[in-house]
């Protein structure tokens, strides 16, 4: 019988309006990597936050090494040997690696002063012992996210964590960094640690987990071993029905160039060139994918191409018209649609009803405006009714506040607004971020449909699978510049991963 280091029994947690955890049972064995698989909102993170003391369960028990415990706070969890690496790192950006690691459990020279040298030595030892390479004196904000994540892991190990919870750790990593992380995870369990790995990515689960527990709608729906599972079987368990993982997509029939970008430059507030001499074209009827690790200029590129940021140089031509330095409305008027990466900031007004959210790009024109600043609300509602049905936005009605929809439906609302009119260009940034599998399927098929209707599509995504599934051509951004272009039909994950990491094909 395997030794269980962590067991949760019958955990229930109710949030206003949502039953996040419904009588959940789970066991973690010593020295195993347990994958906790489920869609966004399935209750994985809630369960782990309960184990880590961030939430208190309404009912149920937690056993650590066979002993029933109450975990009242993260400090409590840490003291009991449980460490958690959150999806959003808990690191103080302008401080050094060492300072971040010792924060709260400092190595002291005397009652007042820190012993930074001794602390640095400890960090160095840990990093060597577990193969977590990191410079103890580096400032966090100068480090790539992959290294920041290592710092988080060392932080937990420094506090003698034996159980590690990793919440969606691969979301921000390149394929090579993911490999590195898996190597570290295997080494950790060899040395007697146990790991819970929260994810919704099927490939990764099959690659690294010893055992898989699947959650849906707040409950555990099944358990599987990687050797006996396929991506398809896991996806069906996760969603509760058959899922089409591959987007059905015919050959592209590219036409004339619609978007022409030449020598584009964007400079940030600190004076760094975040988009550096970028040139490309997108033709009617093709999807150009922009791959890259987050933070390599994709966000700024999209902002430049939608008029949301000032460009530092270069030209943007859309449908033959020079729009360099144009306002967002100039782009919209020229037939450009934009699915923003951050829908809460740029995609919707949360307290507005769905009907108003759906006319944010056209409210000032007929048939929605009647002159003198008066809106035609019946027309707006009718428009909303049509889009809600067409784009399968699940809502009680069009007067419901946009912000009260689930993530997937919010995104479908944004997609409906942008695709609900005649477009010549679609700029889709992270179009399925934080969206459930069912909605992903739908949004992907809508993007392909636009392509087939002759729209030029620029797809920016940090999800390599998404880029590879949808694109006809792929460019890779690294440090603000285009480091390479590949034909999507011939692209491999390895090839793209190397480009994303800045390894030039000729080097």
């Amino acid at each position: 019988m395997e030794e269980s280091v962590l067991e949760v029994r019958d955990i229930t947690k109710q949030f206003p309006g949502v039953l996040a955890n419904d009588h959940v049972n789970l066991q973690l064995h010593k020295g195993e990597i347990l994958a906790l698989l489920g869609e966004n909102g399935a209750g994985k993170s809630t369960l782990m936050n309960i184990v880590y003391g961030l939430y208190h369960p309404d009912s149920g028990e937690i056993y650590l090494n066979g002993e029933c415990v109450t975990v009242s706070s993260p400090r409590d969890a840490i003291a009991r040997g449980v460490g958690m690496v959150h999806q959003h790192f808990q690191l103080v950006e302008p401080m050094t690696v060492t300072e971040n690691i010792i924060l709260g459990s400092e190595v002291m020279r005397n009652a007042v002063l820190l012993n930074i040298d001794a602390a640095r030595q400890q960090v160095d030892d840990l990093s060597r012992e577990y193969g977590l390479e990191v410079d103890p004196d580096a400032i966090i904000e100068d480090l790539p996210v992959g290294v920041q994540q290592r710092v988080e892991i060392i932080k937990a190990l420094y506090r003698h964590a034996k159980i590690l919870i990793l919440d969606e750790p691969t979301a921000v990593l390149t394929p090579q960094e993911i490999e590195d992380l898996f190597r570290v995870m295997r080494r950790l369990v060899e040395q007697g640690h146990s790991i819970i790995f929260i994810t919704h990515k099927l490939k990764e689960v099959l690659a690294v987990a010893h055992r898989i527990v699947v959650m849906r709608n707040g409950g555990v729906v099944g358990e599987a071993l990687p050797a006996e599972s396929t991506e398809g079987s896991l996806a069906s368990m996760m969603v509760g029905r058959e899922v089409i993982l591959k987007v059905p997509k015919g050959a592209a029939h590219p036409g004339e160039p619609v978007l022409d970008v030449s020598s584009l430059e964007v400079t940030d507030a600190r004076g760094t060139k975040v988009v550096n001499n970028v040139s490309f074209q997108v033709r009617a009827g093709e999807i150009l994918g922009v791959a890259g690790v987050q933070g390599n200029g994709q966000t700024e590129l999209v902002e430049a191409l939608t008029g949301l940021t000032r460009i530092g140089g270069g030209r943007i031509t859309l449908g033959g018209q020079d729009l360099s330095g144009g306002t967002p409305r100039a782009f919209t008027e020229q037939g450009s649609g934009h699915i923003p990466e951050n829908r809460h900031r740029y995609g919707m007004v949360a307290p507005y009803p769905i009907s108003e959210n759906l006319v944010l790009n056209q409210y000032y024109k007929a048939p929605f405006a009647r002159g003198w600043g008066i809106r035609d609300y019946p027309a707006i509602d009718k428009h909303a009714q049509r889009l809600v049905e067409l784009f399968d936005v699940r809502t009680p009605g069009v007067s419901t506040a946009g912000g009260s929809l689930s993530g997937g439906n919010q995104q479908k609302m944004v997609v409906a607004r942008e695709l609900g009119r005649q477009l010549s260009l679609l700029v889709a940034a992270q179009p399925t971020r934080g969206v459930d599998v069912g909605s992903i399927e739908f949004i992907h098929s809508q993007i392909v449909k636009q392509r087939d209707a002759g729209v030029a599509v620029l797809l920016v995504s940090a999800e390599l699978d998404e880029i590879m599934a949808l694109s006809d051509r792929i460019i890779v951004m690294y440090k603000g510049a285009i480091i390479g272009e590949v034909n999507a039909a011939e692209a491999t994950r390895e090839q793209l991963g190397l480009l994303m990491a800045g390894v030039h094909p000729t080097a």
Binding site: G53, L54, S72, S73, P74, R75, I78, Q90, L91, V92, E93, P94, M95, E99, N100, I102, L103, G104, S105, E106, M108, V112, L113, L114, I116, D135, A138, I139, D142, L143, P144, V147, A269, G502
Partner: protein
Amino acid sequence: MTQTHSLQKKNSRTGRTALWVGGSAVVFFLIAILVNQTPLKETSLRLFFGRSALNFTLRAAVPLILGALSGILCERSGIVNIGIEGMMLAGAFGAFVVKVATTALPLPLSLFLATLAALAIGGAMAFILAVLSIRYKVNQIISGTVIITLAAGLTTYLFNPDWVSKGKFSNITIPLLVKIPVIGEVLFNNGLLTYLTLLLVVVTQIMLFRSRWGLRTRAIGEHPRAADTMGINVNRMRYINTVIGGMLAGLAGAFLVLEAVGQFKEGMTAGRGFISLAAMIFGNWTPVGAFGAALLFGYTQALQNEFLLAGVTAVPRHFISMLPYVVTIVVVAGFVGRSRPPAAEGQVYESEM
């Protein structure tokens, strides 16, 4: 590879700034020594580099330094302290009242008690700020303004112009060091509170960057949630830091009454609390940086003073009087975008636990 590269770039940038600042300071003092020690002293350069200008600079800078340190302690922990002006004024008044009330006691004891009073009152005002900002989640700019208004109103209401304070901190000459030409005469012939201020700059700098308290303070001002999950009581630290900050602002008030002027006047802080904030920003929230900035602002006040005393008439005196404020505005306007405030400054922190 790329990481170390960017790190080096960063280090060399700060290195260059330090070199620049240090270099100009050295040049400045060389000129000052030349002007004071050679026949040059009869020229108009005396206005800029004369001993009296330098002395005045330090005297004008002391309250600004203390005010800036006060701001640093609060803001590094995430509390915006716009009420320094009020804490300074209240501290000055407190020092004055206790000084007048203890006239019968020996002068050193009376001064000591008056200084304690200033610390206590500054700390109490800061505690009000902290309670409003942390406990009642009032916007911190508003709670700071409350402090300023409260101090201005109360001190005016309670002040009795018949009260007269006798005696103040006299200069203590430090033997040997004072013999260093120019620099020694400026730095080592001062009152106790001036020495204390210089010491506090060094102590705060070390504490902020080398001690456990400093590490935690910086962490809660940048990313309180990260600190909280590591077992640090964010709001308790914010209370403590704000109160210590208020005591420093109170000490600045004590300096004005007990060492510089010797009396209390209504509104005697005259915007020094705000210029302190400018010095804090210009100094990028570091004690040594703020010290440099406060010296610069002090120097502009000294120039104003020297020009007026020398009866310079080429420029109308009103423009000369504007000098310190104009320089403050120009410097802050130029630097505000470039310096970097603590990320969580002004934000209420609520633990989810």
